[in-house]
């Protein structure tokens, strides 16, 4: 049915694109970028933030990277791995994109990386942070490149920071899926390496709304609580924790307190500490300008989902400009990407041999303050400490790190749980 339809209209469409292509090449090169984000479903808002970030940079550059006209094609991956694969193939086979960007969930990243290998098309992951894509599975995916982060990257310095605060025992409560394991696992490794003890690990399922069964089981003798929550969970958990009269410090993975959810949170999160490679409250001229421009354009604070895609666009622009406004081919493109150094809103970003960013990791405390000249007191992630130029292995040696298994529900083992 679709076949018949395409046969009839196919030539017309094809003719149209060829004609467009011809007129475009007559003026300047066309750079076709495929972009995958969940624009419908539970993650639609995050997906919109992702696209907005990338588009904002494109708009600033009047849709031109180094003289090349950018054709930016967005496809809805719906937060489902196999839909993402179909859409990526559509972008590659039908739209003939030069490379593709995006993908939200870790599972989506794992699904898209093999597509890049099979089709020999570069995939730039700006959000999806599954650790192993740039660690143990790296040799399998030679066309995979990451501009965002790997899940445990901010957790390694954070574990050290927790030791520095004098915490001895910490309880972990984290969403029961790969991202939760990796963020919590990285923290556990680092925290126990400097003498701390993880005394319990609780894994509520991904869509938990009622934490009633979990909160009372949090151990009394722990000095702090480490959380990794996502989506609606990150709103519910702090509320219910406060309602239960919690007095302990709460620390956690970055996306739990990302600016994407922060404005919807109440005062109960004030004082909570989290970590990530970006904070809207980062007081650098570059970031202040970014936050102001973003707020004027979209009427809200930029979170890391927008920033990382803005920066990704900036990185691509840098490479294409250096290549003379032309796509240099997959192998050359990867080499040039790896050599890029940019000064992004999140700070300086460069890349190591694992095709993963080396960047600042910020320890951030939620506070209700006035910032950047905005008139009202709002919740901001204020930066309280910066760990400069952190790679994904942090304080650990790469070889020793790679010899251990990827973080999971059971790794690192909970030695001090009983």
């Amino acid at each position: 049915m679709t076949g018949a339809l395409l046969r009839r209209f196919g030539p017309v469409l094809l003719g149209g694109t060829v004609a467009l292509g011809l007129t475009a090449t007559a003026k300047s090169e066309e750079l076709r970028i495929g972009y995958l984000a969940p624009t419908t479903g539970v993650f639609a808002q995050v997906g919109k933030d992702m696209v907005d970030g990338f588009k904002m940079y494109l708009d600033e550059k009047n849709n031109k990277f180094g003289g090349a006209d950018v054709k930016f094609i967005v496809e809805d991956e719906q937060g489902k791995p196999d839909t993402a694969v179909t859409k990526a193939k559509k972008l590659i086979l039908q739209d003939k994109v030069h490379f593709f960007v995006g993908g939200l969930l870790a599972s989506t990243g794992y699904a898209l990386a093999p597509v890049s290998t099979a089709e020999k098309v570069v995939y730039i992951s700006s959000v999806s942070s599954a650790d192993d894509l740039t660690q143990r599975d790296l040799p399998k995916y030679p066309y995979f490149f990451r501009t965002g982060w790997s899940s445990s990257q901010p957790s390694h310095p954070f574990g050290q920071w927790a030791c520095d605060q004098g915490y001895k025992k910490i309880s972990i409560i984290a969403a029961d899926y790969a991202f939760g394991y990796e963020v919590a696992g990285g923290f556990q490794r680092a925290f126990e390496a400097c003498g701390g003890q993880i005394v319990q690990k609780i894994w509520p399922p991904l869509t938990t709304k009622d934490f009633g069964p979990y909160i009372p089981t949090l151990k009394d003798d722990a000095d702090a609580i480490f959380t990794v929550m996502v989506g609606p969970m990150s709103l519910q958990f702090p509320k219910q924790l406060a309602a239960n009269g919690n007095k302990k410090p709460v620390i956690g993975g970055g996306p739990s307190y990302d600016e994407f959810v922060l404005p919807s949170m109440g005062d109960e999160v004030i004082g909570h500490v989290s970590t990530l490679q970006y904070s809207a409250g980062l007081d650098t001229p570059k970031n202040v300008a970014f936050v102001k421009a973003y707020r004027t354009k979209f009427g809200k604070m930029p979170g890391y989902y927008s920033e990382t895609n803005y920066t990704t666009a900036q990185i691509i622009d840098e490479v294409i400009t250096k290549a003379g406004g032309k796509y240099p081919g997959a192998e050359e493109f990867l080499k040039m990407l790896a050599a890029v150094k940019v000064d992004a809103p999140r700070g300086p970003v460069s890349f190591d041999a694992t095709r993963n960013p080396v960047q600042n990791i910020y320890i951030k405390k939620v506070a209700k303050v006035k910032m950047f000249g905005y008139p009202n007191e709002e919740l901001w992630n204020t930066v309280i400490k910066t760990y400069p130029n952190v790679d994904q292995f942090g304080q650990f040696k790469k070889d020793e790190f790679m010899a251990t298994p990827v973080y999971s529900r059971d790794y690192p083992p909970c030695k001090f749980c009983n």
């Binding site: 076949g3 018949a4 395409l6 624009t39 809805d76 791995p81 179909t86 870790a106 597509v115």
Partner: protein, 332 residues
């Protein structure tokens, strides 16, 4: 009878058209049609339950999942199913689907109507739970990547066209098998159960057994479609076994027209087409899909396959009205 031969001819022509036209389109269309064909085996299997036996199941994705996970686990952990033994895996998928249905059937078949719906939903969610939580086996939320497709003899299924013809072949065989099944005396007895189970019981049929066998056969085809499905996207994840996948299958069957087998296939193609092309064009594509569903239920309860019949009725009706109009002035 003549109209029946005509219908079969139409299906054959349509199949031939797909086999000829699709390979000449671009490779993305080939991929899409391959996916739709693999999924439509599941939809047809559901139609055996929904359209012929009158049992609306909300857990059909479980069988697709079992087939798909078996394929992925065997291939990645044991390197089984990447050569000639692909056919063995196809068989394993069928057997596992049937076996799971045989277990679930014992629990589900005792109920009917909305209770059957709820039990199958619950059982389907059990399979989803296993897929999601049994990390060591299923890879949890990340799922399992299948990096290669089978290769045997001179045939390399990594080629989209070759793979399309394989799926097409399996699809045609499945269609034939299911068609024969629903037209057999066994299939007739299923229709009898759908229309009035009590009467069938009084006539001496073991209706429980009939329903149970239909349930197991549907599960077997679900497993089969799962094996193919796993290789279409190269990824198997809990999304494949979650509730929306079961609901999708049900909606596709209803959209095309349940109790027709072919209707389910048409429904599948329409939904796949709308999803892939509309979602590229507009961000609110889901509303369009929703309106299509609602409109179908409201105006075409018999699905798209019911259109010719409705047209015929309408023509007959307007004929009557025509005569009535002519008569009306005479009487006044």
């Amino acid at each position: 009878m003549r109209s029946h031969t005509w219908k079969i001819l139409m299906v054959i022509v349509a199949l031939a058209a797909v086999a000829v036209v699709v390979p000449n389109t671009n490779s993305f269309i080939i991929l899409l049609v391959t996916r739709a064909l693999a999924f439509s085996i599941l939809v047809m299997s559901l139609d055996i339950l929904l359209g012929y036996t009158g049992l609306a199941s909300l857990g059909q994705a479980a069988y697709l999942g079992v087939g798909a996970y078996a394929t992925a686990i065997l291939a990645t952990k044991y390197h089984i199913g990447l050569g000639w033994d692909f056919w063995l895996v196809l068989l394993i998928g069928i057997v596992l689907g049937a076996a799971l249905a045989a277990i679930f059937g014992l629990l589900a078949i005792r109920a009917s109507g909305v209770y059957f719906l709820m039990i199958t939903l619950a059982l389907g969610q059990c399979v989803w739970g296993l897929a999601y939580r049994w990390n060591s086996l299923t890879g949890g939320d990340n799922g399992i990547n299948l990096r290669e497709r089978p290769k045997f003899g001179g045939i390399d299924l990594a080629n989209e066209m070759t793979f399309f013809f394989l799926v097409f072949g399996v699809f045609v065989v499945s269609l034939l098998f299911m068609y024969t099944l629903v037209r057999s005396p066994f299939g007739r007895s299923l229709a009898g159960i759908r229309e009035r189970e009590l009467r069938m019981k009084i006539l001496g049929y073991n209706t429980w057994l009939h329903k149970y066998i239909a349930f197991v056969i549907a599960g077997a085809f679900g497993g089969l479609s799962g094996v193919l499905w796993a290789h279409t996207a190269g990824i198997v994840s809990p999304v494949n076994v979650e509730l929306p996948t079961s609901v999708d299958a049900l909606l596709m069957a209803v959209l095309g027209g349940s109790g027709t087998l072919v209707g389910g296939v048409i429904g599948t193609f329409i939904v796949f087409g709308l999803r892939e092309f509309l979602s590229t064009l507009v961000p609110w594509w889901q509303y369009v899909l929703g309106i299509v569903y609602v409109a179908t239920i409201l105006y075409l309860p018999t699905g798209l396959m019911g259109i010719p019949e409705r047209l015929r009725q309408r023509r007959a009706k307007s004929g009557e009205q025509g005569t009535a109009k002519i008569l009306a002035p005479a009487t006044s």
